[in-house]
Symmetry: C3
Subunit: 138 residues, 3 copies
């Protein structure tokens, strides 16, 4: 459960930093999609996000959309009582892959971004299969 | 709890398959939004997703945005100790509606997509009300 | 746990109302992104969402992307056994900030939208730090 707690907080940080970074990068471009923000913060009203903001948002989108469903699977997994080693490999492995993915996306480093993404999907699939095995063998 | 475990893994699969399908369909159109991918994979850099990729992403978006909040409600619900029958109806019912929704969206089958969406929202609302009833009656 | 149950249901409602409101507002503009919907509901096929639909979707996006990671942190937090007062402050505080944020975004009220967003991020960070403290002190 400590493994789940620590990795959950790191994922929360990963997602929250990416989200607020998109706001920070948007601020530097001095653009906004909301008329009330243009008035309040004296920025320019635009119809679509500038390229650098869109990149951070895509990194965030991929991160949230893969991390959140995984955390439900991970919760079922830790509730089913895995060994500490299994929990370390799946939860910390996935966590490391996702943090490295974020870094690679923001820096535009390929093929590493795709490699870390692939590792995260394989570890999530492994967690799901192991969770089902533990739940059904009870 | 087994009901929660099984439906969670199916939802994870539903979301993950849709997400990776968006990548697969994008691959077939040989387009990308990232300059580094255009270099790495010899695809064409575009500014917005082709229509067939956008369709898969909309199906994924609706699925993730309705499934993930539901799973928190479902977690509260199973922790509050419902009868096995209640759990089957709400959790497997929602699961079936969401999987059929994905199929209907990808195939463009209306009005079935909207019907399965409506069923999933009603079942989620039922789960939320029943969860509150169980928690507050303790 | 009752605090977690009640705030989870309110968050589910907040996210679900925003999502379905985006559909309702889209319906009033008589537009759709799907050819099969244009045929079924006699609406006009467009390539991007009208401005009023996009506003509701941005409010929904921010709400879901901040609420869902928070709920995992909140789950770890309540499992670690906080005092009732801590739970009230963090969980109901975050809940109130997010509901007021939704209202401010839909009405276009600045700088209140940004203020409630800031409060929600600070409370989420507080919950994460307190959860780690409780888990690691066991």
């Amino acid at each position: 459960m400590t493994t789940f707690a620590i990795s959950t907080v790191v994922h929360w940080l990963n997602i929250t930093v990416l989200w607020n970074m998109s706001g920070g990068v948007r601020g530097k471009t001095k653009t906004t999609l909301n008329p009330e923000d243009a008035r309040q913060f004296k920025t320019n009203l635009v119809e679509s996000e500038p390229a650098e903001v869109a990149r951070v948002l895509r990194a965030h989108r991929n991160t949230a959309d893969n991390t959140l469903p995984f955390l439900f699977v991970a919760l079922v997994f830790v509730m089913a009582g895995p060994s500490a080693l299994e929990a370390y490999i799946f939860l910390y492995g996935f966590m490391a892959a996702r943090v490295l993915y974020s870094v690679c996306y923001l820096k535009g480093v390929q093929p590493w971004r795709t490699i870390f993404y692939g590792i995260s999907v394989l570890l999530a699939a492994g967690t799901a299969i192991d969770a089902l095995r533990l739940v059904l063998s009870k």
